[in-house]
């Protein structure tokens, strides 16, 4: 099963290697890992996507928690959360089929970043599934390069207002 973990870590050198080393050393499957600084420059947020059954995933969380540099872990697998990934896609685009590719890109709300004589670069933001779909659809046009950012995630904002004292409106 696929799991998404979002965590806050000390913004030190070597933190990413501690985490990726934990995965390789203990034989856990890591699909993607992204890192970036937060509002507090001493803290980074790391989002990682991993695979494993419930027992393995429980161990992954515990082992991550054991790392001194890990401050907080949130398991976003079951929670309402927004997941986004960014992809840059270079696709063969002879002048006569450019129009078709533009149309496909439009359907997926992808941006055209660059157009050359025989290829173009598209940018797409969305869920990992959406990016999978888009690249699949572009396959017949010959995708020559694909760069994906890995997932970043955030828990959704609360949708129910707190009850005010004094009850009903």
């Amino acid at each position: 099963m696929k799991h998404v973990i979002s965590m806050l870590v000390e913004n030190h050198q070597g933190v990413l290697s501690r985490i990726s080393g934990l995965f390789s050393g203990r034989g856990y499957n890591l699909e993607s890992i992204t890192a970036g600084v937060t509002r507090d420059p001493t803290i980074s947020r790391i989002t990682l996507v991993c695979y494993g059954d419930d027992v393995v995933f429980e161990q992954i969380k515990k082992q991550l928690n054991r790392l001194i540099d890990v401050i907080k872990i949130a398991d976003l697998t079951e929670k309402p959360a927004i997941h986004r990934e960014l992809a840059l896609i270079k696709v063969k685009a002879e002048p006569k089929i450019r129009g078709e590719i533009f149309q496909v890109a439009d359907v997926f709300r992808a941006k055209v970043l660059d157009v050359g004589t025989d290829s173009m670069v598209l940018e797409l933001t969305g869920s990992s599934e959406k990016i999978d779909d888009f690249t699949n659809i572009l396959q017949p046009y010959n995708v020559t390069e694909l760069a994906r950012s890995g997932l970043i995630s955030m828990e959704r904002a609360k949708k129910t207002a707190k009850k005010t004292k004094g009850g009903k409106q």
């Binding site: 870590v9 050198q13 290697s17 515990k62 928690n65 001194i68």
Partner: protein
């Protein structure tokens, strides 16, 4: 007051009340050794290899509970510590290992004696640091000691580049420490503790299963009170040995691959396994699909990652074993388990450990039993293999922290340097390394250290001329194909030799001459009746190490044995069980 980084390091060690440093100097750490030259409050033990330094600090730490300190140089100095750090990390031993590093501006340039020490040591330490700014040095050292000694203890490495050691700083060693990502839970959940007490009260076949965590948390006293109050039979992992005296009526022995019949039958028949400070290691559990199937499991451990990793636990209690057991003690009630006590007692009575072994030569278990008689209150260290199992099974342990052995990593060469560290910390006790002729040679260079330090460590070498435990496996599972396990073998030997005989070449080295070459005392025991006189002779020597070589039965095996992959009740009890 301004001081250098090197001076700050020593101030930090003083502030942490460090009295002994195990180390080995080198180019990148000269500034710190220079400060130590005139420092009177600390004794520097110069080992002969950095691995020996870490094992010695480990023995010092395990036997006392204090944090062991290591100081070595960059590059090979640091890489030589890795086996020692991994050993300590596996067995939760508090160590602070300070390594020199090439100057910061040279890091990454493949400088002389440069190694990525933090990268190499990351998986074998609890935490590690590379100090790149002198302003961080005091805080890092404070954190290192705090992390090493709290929670589940472990080794912490601090890598200090040479220029940082020489820089002047106004920063001091802080008195307080605050790490936002590290808050080990110590107090157990009261609701869970009550549930555990309830379950124990109702149980018909309860069993305490204790591990090294009981020694680490200093909870042997309260645990023994709990056993007196509840009368519940107890089994131990290798690391838990000494939790109850070996002769205690409720003690069934060590479980696992070379566990006792009573312990292994107990764990397979119990309806409640109450585990404390143990991690259900595969050598203890055997085939997990068959392990303790009829039992509910309570598990106290300070490391949440140890809980429900190998076996699924019904009542987990995360926290410090001592605090939890103290909270548990007053609410515990004695369960009615007379028939269970009778049953476990019968197992113990009908299947005691046998000190007899096959073949000519002294029986190794008898050597251990005689050591136990002549030195009833010793700290025993072991190497790894048959010597380790015989020591664990046949020495009568009475006190906590008296068996120092590499349980998790299984490091041959651990026992002798660990004995040196333990002897330095416990000058008034006898410290004995029970060794095999193979493993003692992995750190035999430390004889020089022991002689120079005038330590009366006794090294009891059970010499069978083989890497005995591997040979035992080859005998039982590989039709006696003794591939690379005979330590006497020469080109003139019969090809594919399957047994020792008159044609065997002389053994090397001559351990007695070797001991004498180092100015240690050396004895050789060939006959069983000479064991006790020689041990008594060794007892008189108090100012230098004693090496005693026992020529033991060459093909003696450790029994009982649960073959790898079998359930714990599928034991081979002795030669008679072999087809």
């Amino acid at each position: 007051m301004s001081m250098t980084g090197a001076q700050l390091v020593i101030e930090a060690l003083k502030s942490e009340k460090v009295d002994t440093i195990f180390g080995y100097p080198g180019g990148a750490v000269i500034p710190i050794f220079d400060v130590l030259f005139s420092e009177k409050s600390m004794h520097v033990v110069l080992t002969r290899h950095e691995q020996g330094a870490v094992h010695a600090a480990d023995g010092y730490a395990r036997s006392t509970g204090k944090t062991g300190v290591v100081l070595v140089t960059s590059g090979p100095g640091a890489t030589n510590t890795i086996t020692g750090l991994a050993t300590a990390n596996f067995d939760s031993v508090p160590i602070v290992c300070i390594t020199g590093q090439v100057p910061t501006h040279m890091i990454g340039n493949d400088a002389f004696q440069e190694a990525d020490t933090v990268g190499i040591s990351r998986p074998v330490t609890k935490h590690n640091y590379l100090v790149t700014d002198i302003k961080d040095l005091g805080r890092v050292l404070k954190e290192a000691f705090y992390i090493a000694s709290t929670g589940r203890p472990g080794p912490v490495l601090v890598d200090i580049p040479k220029d940082i050691q020489l820089h002047k700083t106004d920063t001091t060693f802080p008195q307080r420490v605050q790490i936002r990502g590290y808050n080990p839970l110590t107090k157990g959940h009261s609701g869970q503790i009550k549930k555990a007490a309830e379950l124990l009260k109702k149980s018909k076949k309860p069993l305490f299963y204790v591990g090294g965590g009981l020694h680490i948390s200093n909870s042997i006293g309260i645990f023994r009170k709990i056993v007196e109050k509840t009368n519940v039979p107890t089994i131990s992992s290798l690391m838990g040995i000494g939790a109850l005296p070996s002769t205690h009526p409720r003690y069934l022995g060590m479980l696992g691959m070379h566990g006792t019949f009573a312990a292994n039958m107990g764990v397979m028949s119990s309806d409640l396994l109450f585990a404390i400070g143990t991690r259900f290691d595969d050598r203890a559990t055997g085939d997990l699909s068959k392990f303790a199937k009829g039992a509910k499991i309570i598990h106290i451990d300070i490391d949440p990652a140890s809980i429900s990793r190998n076996v699924s636990v019904d009542i987990p209690i995360v926290g410090d074993a001592k605090l939890i057991l103290e909270e548990l003690y007053p609410i515990l009630e004695k369960p009615s388990i007379d028939s269970w006590i009778e049953e476990t007692g019968q197992w113990k009575k009908n299947h005691p450990l046998s000190p007899e072994t096959s073949g000519d030569g002294i029986s190794p278990p008898k050597v251990i039993k005689r050591i136990s008689e002549v030195f009833p209150d010793a700290i025993i260290t072991t190497e790894v293999g048959q010597n380790q199992m015989w020591a664990a099974l046949f020495y009568d342990f009475k006190k906590p922290r008296s068996l120092l052995t590499s349980g998790g990593l299984g490091t041959m060469g651990y026992g002798f340097p660990a004995a040196i560290g333990a002897q330095i910390a416990n000058r008034d006790r006898t410290v004995i390394d029970i060794a095999g002729d193979g493993s003692i040679q992995m750190n035999i260079q430390e004889l020089a250290t022991a002689v120079q330090e005038e330590l009366p460590v006794i090294v009891a070498i059970l010499n069978n001329g083989y890497l005995g435990m591997v040979r035992q496996w080859q005998e039982l599972f590989n039709e006696k194909r003794y591939s690379s396990t005979c330590l006497a073998r020469r080109p003139s030997c019969p090809p594919q030799c399957k047994e020792p005989g008159d044609y065997c070449p002389p053994y090397i080295p001559d351990f007695v001459k070797l001991a004498e070459a180092y100015n240690a005392a050396g004895f050789r025991v060939v006959n069983e009746e000479d064991i006790i006189p020689v041990l008594k002779e060794a007892k008189k020597i108090r100012n230098r190490p004693v090496v005693i070589e026992f020529l033991v039965s060459r093909e003696a095996n450790v029994w009982p044995m649960v073959p790898a992959g079998a359930g714990n009740n599928e034991m081979l009890l002795g030669e008679e069980d072999l087809i």
